[in-house]
């Protein structure tokens, strides 16, 4: 606690940076994964291709991906965009399957009933399929969010500032207080993300609470 009391301001700045680096990829990742997941469901042949590709992307170790991003994007190694891009890749990789499986979990008779009542194509997707896929989607997002918070901290090794700096600096200078603050802050941030996403998921699916 002693260390935190004198460094509160720094921690706050790093925390905001961390939130930014973890949350933006979550949003972009979801927006990219939705059409891809839908496509994987819509065309039989697309499913194995998309799922395999996202699985392969997910095998890439994070530090390696951070380091290779400048090669792909043409950015500088210290640019935070590298981290955002890498985290977006992981989020998409994880969520494509969640979206596909979530849409696949919509009962066939519900879908048929919606079609029979005159819903068509895109309208049915928005009004029926997507809402019913929310629980599976939420589960995927929660995993992605908790995972992102942990991975972002690794970016301190390539010099992009966020809560991971407390871990690296605390270790390098053997300051226990700083290291513990970093771990606890990451942990709390992960739990906060988890809690918020779960809350949104519940708010969107009032029928599951009955």
């Amino acid at each position: 606690m002693g260390w935190l009391s004198t460094h509160g301001g720094d921690v706050w700045t790093l925390l905001l940076q961390h939130v930014w680096l973890a949350a933006v990829p979550l949003v972009i990742g979801l927006l990219v994964a939705l059409p891809l997941g839908w496509a994987a469901r819509r065309w039989r042949a697309a499913y194995p291709i998309l799922v395999t590709t996202s699985g392969l992307l997910y095998t890439v170790p994070s530090l390696a991906l951070f380091i290779l991003m400048p090669l792909i994007l043409g950015t500088r190694i210290l640019d935070p965009i590298n981290v955002v891009a890498a985290m977006t890749v992981y989020t998409v990789a994880l969520l494509v399957r969640s979206v596909a499986d979530g849409l696949g979990a919509v009962p066939e008779d519900v879908r048929a009933a919606a079609t029979a009542m005159g819903y068509r194509g895109f309208r049915r997707l928005l009004a029926v399929d997507l809402p019913l896929a929310v629980p599976v989607l939420t589960a995927g997002l929660r995993v992605a969010a908790v995972s992102n918070v942990s991975i972002v901290s690794v970016a301190s090794l390539i010099g992009v500032a966020q809560l991971g700096n407390l871990l690296t600096d605390g270790y390098n200078r053997a300051i226990n207080g700083e290291l513990i603050t970093g771990i606890v802050a990451c942990l709390l941030l992960a739990l906060a993300f988890d809690w918020i996403i779960r809350g949104i998921g519940r708010a969107l699916t009032p029928w599951t609470r009955a």
């Binding site: 799922v51 395999t52 996202s54 699985g55 392969l56 997910y58 095998t59 890439v60 170790p61 994070s62 530090l63 390696a64 991906l65 380091i67 290779l68 090669l71 190694i77 992981y90 990789a93 994880l94 494509v96 399957r97 969640s98 995993v143 908790v146 995972s147 918070v149 942990s150 991975i151 901290s153 690794v154 301190s156 090794l157 390539i158 809560l163 991971g164 871990l167 690296t168 605390g170 270790y171 053997a174 226990n176 290291l179 513990i180 970093g182 771990i183 990451c186 942990l187 992960a190 739990l191 988890d194």
Partner: protein, 251 residues
């Protein structure tokens, strides 16, 4: 940029010697195998026990919740607090190995437990009713049926370990991570990126090998490779492939 990385990767002198790619690769594979073996010896029996008896489910939830701990923080904390108590060169290795084992346990445990949990209750009831002892039910029915999920948990753990072992170079572990960490410290991008490419390839190859082994050890009856031609699939436990219940936070 790319030509210099290519030069670094292909020059023979970078491959030989105790600091060469060959040796680093061997170290990385060696540590990863050791860690996954230790984690599997702990997590598989535990997962089977929890799944078989239905007792101690909190263990699975607790290890799942523990995944929110940042991997980097876990590595550093163990290096800082456990390292100094260990003599010699092991001071660099033991904290890393402990951290990696801790990270590898949750996906294997969750996969094993989920696999046993998902076994068709009717199959379990029939096994008992036909005269299998509890041990035979576990070994002949529950374990083989749990294999697809167990195996994908293991694959997750292997990827997690290969990735985190790279970072563990920062606290003194050998392996391919050295090229990334040392390259960053020396601002030698060719070495850093070359190392990163090697780590990616290692992860891909390891996952590919495990996918092939899965085809051999998992019965086609539960892998989903053979299914009923019409109508629904009645058997539980389909091939979960990549993204799956056992997926974990990545390092």
């Amino acid at each position: 940029m790319i030509p210099t990385i290519w030069t670094w990767l292909t020059s023979a002198q970078n491959w030989v010697g105790s600091f060469g790619i060959g040796n680093r690769l061997a170290q990385h594979v060696g540590y990863s195998l050791l860690v996954v073996a230790i984690a599997a010896v702990i997590a598989i029996p535990l997962g089977l026990w929890v799944g078989h008896t239905g007792r101690g489910r909190w263990v699975v939830s607790a290890t799942n919740a523990a995944r929110a701990v940042p991997t980097l923080g876990l590595l550093f904390a163990l290096a800082l607090w456990v390292g100094p108590h260990i003599p010699g060169r092991a001071a660099f290795v033991v904290p890393s190995v402990i951290a990696l084992v801790l990270l590898a346990i949750p996906p294997i445990l969750a996969g094993t437990y989920a696999g046993v949990e998902a076994v068709d209750p009717a199959a379990r009831d029939a096994a008992k009713g036909l005269g299998m002892t509890p041990r035979q039910v576990l070994a002949r029915v529950e374990l083989p049926c749990a294999l697809p999920l167990l195996w994908s948990g293991l694959r997750s753990a292997v990827l997690q370990v290969i990735a985190t072992a790279t970072i563990a170079a920062y606290i003194g572990l050998g392996g391919l991570g050295r090229f990334l960490i040392d390259g960053l410290a020396q601002a030698d991008y060719a070495q850093t990126a070359g190392g990163a490419i090697l780590v990616c390839l290692l992860a891909l190859v390891a996952d590919g090998v495990l996918a092939l082994v899965q085809r051999v050890v998992v019965s086609p009856g539960v892998s989903g490779r053979r299914r009923r031609r019409r109508g629904i699939i009645l058997a539980p436990g389909k091939d979960m492939g990549h993204g799956n219940v056992a997926h974990t936070t990545r390092a």
